[in-house]
Amino acid sequence: MAERTITLEVFRYRPDSEQEPTFQSYTVPYREDWVVLDALNYLKDETDGSLSFRWSCRMGVCGSCGMMVNGTPRLSCSAFLKEYYPGPVRVEPLANFPVERDLIVGIDDFMNKLKSVKPWIVRDKEQPVSEGEYRQSPAQLATFKQYSMCINCMLCYAACPVYGLQPDFVGPAAIALAHRYNLDSRDQGQSLRKEVVFSHEAVWECTFVGECSVVCPKDVDPAGAIQQEKALGALDLVKSVLMPWGSR
């Protein structure tokens, strides 16, 4: 019996030799336990060594291998070929990002936005090590744990129509991470983050389309985080009107 195959239509862009991107069709062996990333690695090893793409862990943890698979943002390490058989499978770089080469996108904008929300524990004053660790109850952990599962894969940005229309939008993952630290009982940085999180370019730009939460491979629910931050922003407004001396 002939070996079953499946066709991959892969987005190619080599800025050193091409003005415009093209699609290149490849035929790869079809195996039920292969994911799209396996097929791409097969191509890279056996057919076309010039094909460029990011990947690392192969198990949905590192967030490196996000791509558009048949038009949907997916981690290529968890998009099984059998979901698309008999194909073809169209593989493109993440939407809404500048393409650097083939399936590799530029992530500088995302990294700058991530940094702008200070996604780390901020303390007014660090307590000395001799006083021990910052203790946290299981209930306190549960308030933010879901949002700490983000792997910065940027699928939510590729799915977000607002980010596609308005590149200044701080975006789902960055706001969800800001929310994660704002909810953390050990954190004291909410007043620092709110200048960014409650800005026009952040929560108020979101129109709650919700696709970010649909495509999130870690079930983080960034759309829910943004809505909760909007409610906190409205509360901040009320506080600043009723208690102007207490609002920083």
């Binding site: 702008s116 129509p161 607002v162 229309l165 308005q166 701080v170 709110k194 200048e195 960014v196 409650f198 800005s199 026009h200 370019e201 952040a202 108020w204 129109t207 909007k230 409610a231 922003g233 409205a234 901040d236 407004l237 600043s240």
Partner: protein, 112 residues
């Protein structure tokens, strides 16, 4: 980037209007839209009720906040349709329409 209190204000009206529209409008559809014509609810009783100042205040919130909900949503749709370059005129038209509609609601409620 700076905190936007204007956006927080308009979103608050949007959220309150959406909440009211989702929770209370269906009640009024049943009570006034179906209950009154079917004779389950007395129209005279409703008229007596809306004569009370608290009921008028309730009706004002019931009408006005969904107007602002609608205005906020339309504003963002217009931005998505390509009018992002003129935020002030779009906002003035949308929220202005909600304000005018609210004034109209006030006149209707006062006449009850």
């Amino acid at each position: 980037m700076a905190r936007s209190k204007n956006e927080a204000f308009w979103w608050s009206l949007f959220a309150a209007g959406g909440g009211l529209a989702a929770m209370l409008v269906p009640v009024h559809i049943i009570v006034n839209g179906i209950g009154e014509p079917q004779g389950w609810v007395s129209p005279a009783g409703i008229r007596d009720l809306v004569a009370h100042p608290l009921a008028k205040l309730y009706l004002l919130a019931l009408f006005s906040l969904p107007f602002f909900h609608c205005a906020h949503r339309i504003r963002h749709i217009l931005y998505d349709f390509g009018l992002r370059g003129m935020p002030a005129p779009v906002a003035i038209v949308c929220y202005g329409a909600a304000l005018l509609s609210t004034l109209w609601a006030v006149s209707v409620i006062c006449s009850l």
